[in-house]
């Protein structure tokens, strides 16, 4: 199992809280897909999550690719994106 960074732990909690998921944040594998077959999230979740992320980290998520799966591929890729763009 891969190591989980402090930011990943924090964002995993944010995901579970924002989307009222019934999983333990520690159970979210950083490399597992968040959408589709992984946690089964959809575009409404993506929108809710983008709001929570912009409020917590000041990062305005955008999908130049209309395929949101690319933006939210996994907890890890999401955190890398937050790390790069965060303003708070």
């Amino acid at each position: 199992m891969s190591d989980v960074s402090p930011l990943e732990t924090e964002v995993a909690k944010l995901i579970v809280q924002t989307l009222t998921l019934k999983v333990d944040p520690a159970q979210i594998q950083p490399e597992e897909p968040l959408f589709g077959d992984g946690l089964g999230l959809d575009s409404i979740d993506a929108l809710e999550l983008s709001l929570a992320i912009s409020q917590s980290y000041g990062h305005q998520i955008r999908s130049d690719d209309p395929d949101i799966v690319a933006t939210f591929a996994s907890l890890r890729s999401l955190c890398q994106s937050i790390e790069k763009h965060r303003t708070k």
Binding site: D37, G40, D42, I44, L47, S50, Q60, S63, P66
Partner: protein, 448 residues
């Protein structure tokens, strides 16, 4: 035979679509339609799966020219597509990528030649031609088809445009966050523009930052076609949107406080459109000013013993409202809420009976039911399901459900329970289901 033009206004050099900041003219559009119409397979019906709004429109228009009917499946879930494919087996799929529906041939839209048609030969389409078939989930488990004539689509577009005074303003450009494969998206982001000489952005922005960028890519005046969900996202994130002439919202009621915030923050006017698949868009309101809905010109409202209905010149018979409404004369009504079976999650309408039936068809499920808990706050309230399936895990049931229902309806959460709280007659009341949910929450809180 009566016909109506494909375009309400035609100038070859006028812009129809914006793609990555590049304009596509009405002249090139007619040329692309003519080319594609010659190439389409000889079949009566087509499932148009193209994601790009311009390419979808080229496919839709070419199908009209060829006298074909476009099918709008209730969702992109493989099971939903397969069901429509089974019932309309002599169809083909129009695609712009690698999409594929089992058992149907795919036809890829060729790249545009970029050629522009300078003639003024705008195709005329018979008003009686069934331009499309939209589906609602019937309570029987099978999607119910609703055929829309070209005449009805044009009439709705024109009366909506008249209400919004589109002909009196400069050429507006629509940016839409909603898919064009649903009735509202098709009416507001395709039919409204082509019947009023307007333009649209080919993409479908999702996040507030996407919306801001898409709006910035098109010239003013702009119109945002969207939903309460996206409006809330843009308001909450305090997006600095470029000037927007008006915002059109549909799919769920927009709280008046949110409409007010959006009007102030974005210096715009916010209108709501109300409609349902059987009748199409039928009423509007300026949310900050009025609670009542004003029907579009030509529509009249009637009180019947079974509920309220509406009549319009393009409807063959009066259509009953699926929602609870009370009439204020023949032209205005107040919306009170939905019937008990219908739910609307993020703009997708579904039937609880239909969803429960699909759940009960899954192998290993002995009993199961979907229901909508009380809505809380402004977030989207998701469905909950209770399932009796002693041999199966909730993951197994969820992945089986995912192939047969629109994913927005996936239960969140799905509770595995030993039995459902059915009463002596075998019925499940809402009170009993809420009681069970409450009990489960309490148990969770106390860690039992």
């Amino acid at each position: 035979m009566n016909s109506a033009a494909l375009l309400g206004l035609y100038h070859a050099n006028r812009v129809l679509a914006w793609e990555n900041g590049h304009p596509i003219t009405y002249g090139r559009f007619l040329s692309d339609v003519e080319t594609l119409a010659d190439l389409l397979p000889e079949k009566p019906t087509v499932i148009n799966l193209t994601d790009d709004r311009y390419r979808f429109l080229v496919g839709f228009a070419a199908a009209l020219v060829r006298g074909q009917t476009t099918l709008l499946p209730p969702s992109r879930a493989p099971g939903a597509l397969a069901q429509v494919a089974r019932e309309y087996s002599n169809s083909y799929c129009l695609v712009d990528g690698m999409e594929h529906v089992e058992s149907l041939p795919s036809f890829q839209i060729p790249r545009s030649t970029g050629r522009q048609n300078d003639t003024t030969n705008v195709p005329q389409i018979s008003v009686d031609h069934p331009a499309l078939v939209a589906f609602t989930s019937g309570s029987t488990g099978r999607p119910r088809p609703h055929s829309k004539t070209w005449g009805s689509l044009v009439a709705v577009a024109r009366s909506t445009g008249a209400r919004l005074r589109l002909m009196r303003s400069d050429q507006m450009t629509v940016v839409a966050t909603v898919p064009h494969q649903h009735m509202y998206g098709l009416e507001a982001s395709i039919m409204l523009p082509i019947q009023h000489g307007m333009a649209f952005h080919v993409e479908r922005p999702l996040f507030p930052e996407d919306v801001r960028l898409a709006l910035a890519e098109v010239p003013s005046p702009r119109m945002l076609v969207t939903t309460p969900l996206h409006i809330r996202a843009c308001v909450t994130s305090r997006s600095r949107l470029p000037p927007v002439e008006c915002i059109l919202s549909a799919t769920a009621p927009l709280p008046s406080s949110l409409a007010k915030e959006a009007e102030t923050l974005f210096q715009t006017r916010v209108y709501e459109v109300y409609g349902f698949t059987e009748a199409g868009s039928l009423a509007t309101r300026r949310t900050v000013d009025e609670n009542t809905w004003h029907v579009l010109d030509g529509i009249t409202l009637h009180q019947e013993s079974a509920g309220c209905s509406l009549q319009a010149p393009y409807l063959h018979e009066p259509v009953l409202f699926p929602d609870l409404v009370s009439l204020q004369g023949q032209h205005r009504f107040v919306l009170h809420g939905r019937g008990t079976d219908l739910v609307n999650i993020g703009g997708h309408r579904g039937s609880l009976n239909d969803l429960s039936q699909k759940l009960n068809e899954i192998e290993g499920v002995q009993d199961g039911v979907f229901f909508l808990p009380d809505e809380k706050g402004t977030a989207v309230t998701r469905l909950t399901a209770f399932v009796v399936a002693p041999e199966k895990s909730s993951e197994h049931i969820l992945s089986a459900l995912r192939t047969v229902i629109n994913p927005v309806f996936l239960p969140r959460p799905l509770h595995l329970v030993p039995r459902l709280p059915r009463n002596e007659t075998g019925k499940l009341t809402r009170e009993a289901l809420l009681g069970l949910l409450h009990k489960l929450h309490n148990e969770e809180r106390h860690g039992t």
